[in-house]
């Protein structure tokens, strides 16, 4: 018995005290937390933001956005030329760029990728909208690719489509079933996918042959986290090096933490409160059950005036947001719009009350005017808290709110079917504002059967639609910017939705491991979730005195000791019982 015990103890101590064998030269690894699942490694199918981001590291696009100011810069192509009628675009893929397996990158790869998307419906799953307007894509030689479109398209330099190697993908067979997980995955980006364990991690190695030059570290690991809470905790412990999408409180909690640097960046996202303006189908049939009083723009404006955006940002966003106005966040500087003094609606409950009285909606005996419903997403902290504020604010102008927080699915269902009065929503925008603007055109409303709509707010306004059409064919950037701003002003004036805030992107990193990251844009920009791969690519390791990978092997010592104590107790008890067993019944 004693021998067995000793052996057990020995094993326990060995387990507890011996550190894992450390190789002499460890590769420098950047470990990044991701909270969202990776849906697919196949760039034609990957829809999630996290997968798109990994895709950007593996595959270059035709063009890229510069890190400093997000202007269009060299991607796979270094030159591009539209025809006079803007229907034909010629891109030049320069010599010298190589796939990670050494095969040269040519214009034929580009043509192959786009043609695949145009011919295979499954290949359009992720990025189909970019090729919807294409009529042909041809490679005239190894260097030149010519794209013709059915109508002029302003987004020709913002084709966010990963270009895949033809020599690999033409053997892929069915796109739907191609997981793209045969390691190492051939790509053109700064990193090469080397291992993917679903639900656990993704490992990428630096592409030593990358045409911009290899990254300054060896490996990039994306580690999957259940929630940002766990990720923040792991960052604090030094288990990972980079975290984004932190909640304001989590961001605050990292303040002053040694070895951690926080990055409060301008985000691409805005949060809005949709106000059902009297939803209709494309053919003008009413749809849903939105409150009829909201059809009156005066009522919508009054509601907007009753909301204290500054207070919302201070209390709910804990200050980590900017006050909302137009549809384009300030991070995309030139298209961003702010109301002038004349247009500006300040927070003024008294004016809102007066406006409602004027609109013929006086307070009733119980002090209320009319009830409204507000729906939001259960489990989203913002909705849960902001709804409390709105309940109070609108209550002050005589509108009792019935707040319902529902599942994602139900929220989508309600907003699509227009069975809401007020609803929380939000969009992530791109550098080119076309998409977010298109959401509010009449054509986006659903068909007669109530299906096929992609409208955001059921907004339909002649002025807005006319401006939308104008900007779509305006190739002079300054003029286009002007039109886009006019559209936002119109949207602000008609209030189908109140843009509540532009959320800050809250990130944190181990500055004791990595000294510097490239942000986009250079001033106040983000590290992760960029329109590009600069954040990871440009990371510079800190000069490290020691490998701080102290994942607390002491834990084993504690566990070992606990087990040893338990075993000891068991043995002692058993022995004592044995000794006295003869004298007991």
């Amino acid at each position: 018995m004693r021998v067995k015990l000793c052996a057990l103890l020995a094993v326990a101590t060995t387990l507890g005290l011996s550190a894992p064998p450390a190789p002499a030269q460890q590769p420098v690894v950047l470990k990044v937390a991701i909270v969202q699942q990776i849906d697919s490694m196949n760039p034609f199918l990957a829809v999630f933001q996290s997968s798109t981001e990994v895709g950007r590291l593996m595959y270059d696009y035709l063009t890229a956005y510069s890190a400093s100011d997000q202007s269009v810069t060299e991607g796979l192509a270094n030159r591009w030329e539209p025809s006079a009628d803007k229907l034909t675009w010629t891109f030049t893929v320069p010599e010298g760029k190589k796939w990670s397996d050494g095969v040269p990158i040519t214009a034929r790869d580009v043509a192959f990728t786009f043609t695949l998307m145009m011919t295979d419906e499954v290949a359009r799953t992720a990025n189909g909208s970019f090729v919807a307007n294409f009529s042909s894509v041809t490679a005239t030689d190894d260097r030149t690719v010519v794209i013709t479109t059915k109508a002029p398209q302003v987004t020709m330099l913002a084709l966010d489509v990963p270009i895949v190697p033809k020599h690999v993908w033409e053997k892929a067979g069915s796109i739907k079933d191609y997981a793209n997980d045969r390691m190492p995955v051939v790509g053109s980006g700064p990193f090469v996918l080397s291992e993917h364990v679903p639900g656990q991690f993704i490992k990428l190695k630096a592409n030593k042959d990358y045409w911009r030059g290899a990254a300054k570290f060896d490996e990039l690991h994306f580690v999957y986290f259940q929630n940002s809470d766990a990720a923040v905790q792991a960052l604090g412990k030094g288990e990972i090096d980079l975290v984004n999408r932190m909640a304001p409180a989590q961001f605050d909690s990292l303040q002053g933490k040694p070895g951690v640097t926080r990055n409060k960046a301008q985000g691409r996202r805005f949060t809005e409160l949709m106000i059902n303006p009297g939803a209709q189908t494309r053919t003008g049939e009413p749809i849903g059950d939105g409150s009829p009083v909201l059809r009156d723009v005066r009522v919508r404006r009054a509601i907007a005036r009753a909301i204290d955006l500054d207070a919302l940002i201070a209390r709910v966003n804990l200050g980590y947001a900017e006050k909302g106005a137009g549809l384009v966040p300030p991070v995309f500087g030139k298209y961003h719009w702010q109301p002038g003094a004349a247009e500006l609606r300040t927070f003024d409950p008294a004016a809102a009350n007066a406006a409602l009285d004027a609109a013929g909606l006086p307070r009733k005996a119980d002090g209320t005017r009319f009830p409204l419903r507000l729906i939001g997403r259960a489990g989203r902290a913002y909705d849960e808290q902001a709804s409390e504020y709105l309940k109070r604010s609108l209550g002050d102008i005589g509108i009792p709110l019935d707040v319902r927080l529902v599942s994602d699915n139900q929220l989508n269902e309600s907003t699509t079917a227009a069975t809401y009065d007020l609803a929380f929503s939000g969009w992530s925008t791109n550098i080119d504002p076309d998409f977010v603007l298109s959401l509010h055109t009449c054509a986006q409303r659903p068909g007669a059967d109530g299906k096929g709509g992609t409208t955001d707010t059921y907004f339909c306004d002649e002025t807005y639609d006319r401006l939308y059409a104008q900007q779509l064919s305006e190739f002079d950037e300054a003029k286009r910017v002007e039109i886009v701003k006019q559209m936002q002003a119109r949207f602000y004036d008609q209030v189908p939705a109140v843009v509540l805030a532009y959320d800050n992107a809250l990130e944190g990193y181990r500055s004791d491991h990595f000294a510097k990251f490239t942000t986009q844009p250079a001033q106040g920009g983000v590290i992760m979730a960029q329109n590009g791969m600069w954040g990871y690519y440009g990371a510079e390791p800190a000069v490290r005195t020691s490998q701080a990978g102290s994942t607390g092997w002491g834990g084993f010592a504690v566990a070992g000791a606990a087990v040893a104590v338990l075993v000891l107790a068991f043995v002692v008890v058993t022995r004592r019982r044995k000794a006295t067993a003869g004298e007991r019944e």
Binding site: L15, P20, P21, P23, V29, Q37, D39, S40, N42, L45, V47, E121, R124, T125, G128, S129, K176, A179, V197, P198, G199, Q200, F201, K203, E219, H221, V223, Y224, F225, Q226, A230, Q233, A234, K237, E239, G379, S407, D408, N409, Q410, N412, E413, T416, W427, S428, F435, G452, G453, T454, S550, T551, G552, G555, F556, V558, R577, A581, G582, R584, E585
Partner: protein, 316 residues
């Protein structure tokens, strides 16, 4: 005859699981395709394509028939989230769950039964009171809270998440140690809750037997106290306890969901949570069918095992 009945019952249960799995997730409000394309630039045509891709454009009976026939072939449909067969997604998460649940169940069964036997045999002793008190308290503890608490209390001693570090040396020993290191907190959490249940079950099972006349016979024969316990009382009491252990396998499943969620253990429980946040209905449906099916099979096994171990059952 009895065997056939058991198998028939299990088959019927599995069928009911399948039907339940289908209809539960078909009554949901909302168009799953809208969820899938949320926040993406999508056209109506693309939505329609997706609808056709997932067979959502067909009538309910048609959908059920194709669901059911695929199920028989082991095909659980395609996950919205992963764009891959649900069966594949589930299969690749099975390993970690089996590791966690297996470790925890093994420890919990051994420890729980031992504690239960000891406290029942010395009913009313200090050991019994402490064991029962602790077990009752642990039974009252929500699993996830215990996990969060452990995580907070142990601080940096153990990794806070996952099953493996990404930068562990590739040799087997380092990998195994790494996994073991990650396994400590989740399995302690799961053991604590499950073990309490087992200890209580075993205790009451043995207490049932404590007054059985055959124990008096054994004593009268001159057997030592611990022999009476080991040879006579425990073999009788352990049978119902083991059956209950198997029967409450659902409890372990439930515990695994919350434990894996808290510790980001990359198993089925975590997958469940992920599917929930989607919500990815095909995945949820697959998980429901698989977990419920597993529990049904476990019960069948318990039944068969009971038949093998307990001579009384054979004749029936």
């Amino acid at each position: 005859m009895r065997l056939a009945g058991r198998f028939g019952g299990a088959a019927l249960s599995l069928l009911m699981v399948a039907v339940l799995g289908f209809f539960l997730f078909r009554v949901v409000p909302g168009d799953p395709v809208v969820s899938m394309t949320r926040g993406r630039p999508t056209t109506a045509a693309m939505q329609a394509e997706l609808r056709a891709q997932f067979g959502l454009d067909r009538s309910l009976p048609e959908q059920f028939w194709s669901y059911f026939t695929s199920l028989l072939r082991g095909d659980l449909g395609t996950s919205f989230t992963f764009r891959r067969p649900v069966a594949d997604v589930i299969l690749e998460r099975l390993g970690p769950t089996v590791l966690l649940v297996g470790t925890a169940t093994l420890i919990a069964v051994l420890l729980g039964l031992w504690l239960g036997v000891r406290s029942a045999w010395r009913r009313g002793s200090a050991f019994d009171r402490v064991t029962t008190g602790v077990s009752l308290t642990l039974w009252a503890v929500p699993t996830f809270w215990l996990g969060m608490l452990l995580m907070m209390v142990t601080g940096d001693l153990f990794p806070s998440r996952g099953m493996r570090d990404t930068d562990t040396a590739p040799d087997f020993v380092s990998q195994a140690l790494d996994v073991g290191h990650h396994l400590v907190l989740p399995s302690v959490t799961l053991v604590a809750v499950v073990c309490a249940e087992y200890a209580l079950v075993m205790r009451s099972s043995l207490l049932e037997e404590m007054h059985a006349p055959y124990l008096t016979t054994a004593r009268a024969k001159g057997l030592r106290d611990d022999l009476v316990r080991r040879r006579h009382a425990v073999p009788n009491a352990v049978l119902p306890a083991i059956t209950l252990v198997f029967l409450r396998f659902g409890l372990v499943v439930a515990g695994a969901i919350t434990t894996e969620t808290v510790f980001s253990w990359p198993g089925l429980g975590l997958l469940f949570y992920d599917a929930l946040t989607g919500p990815d209905y095909f995945l949820l449906q697959g998980l429901l069918v698989v977990t419920a099916g597993a529990v049904v099979v476990m019960n069948l096994l318990a039944d068969l095992l009971h038949g093998v171990l307990d001579p009384r059952v054979k004749v029936v």
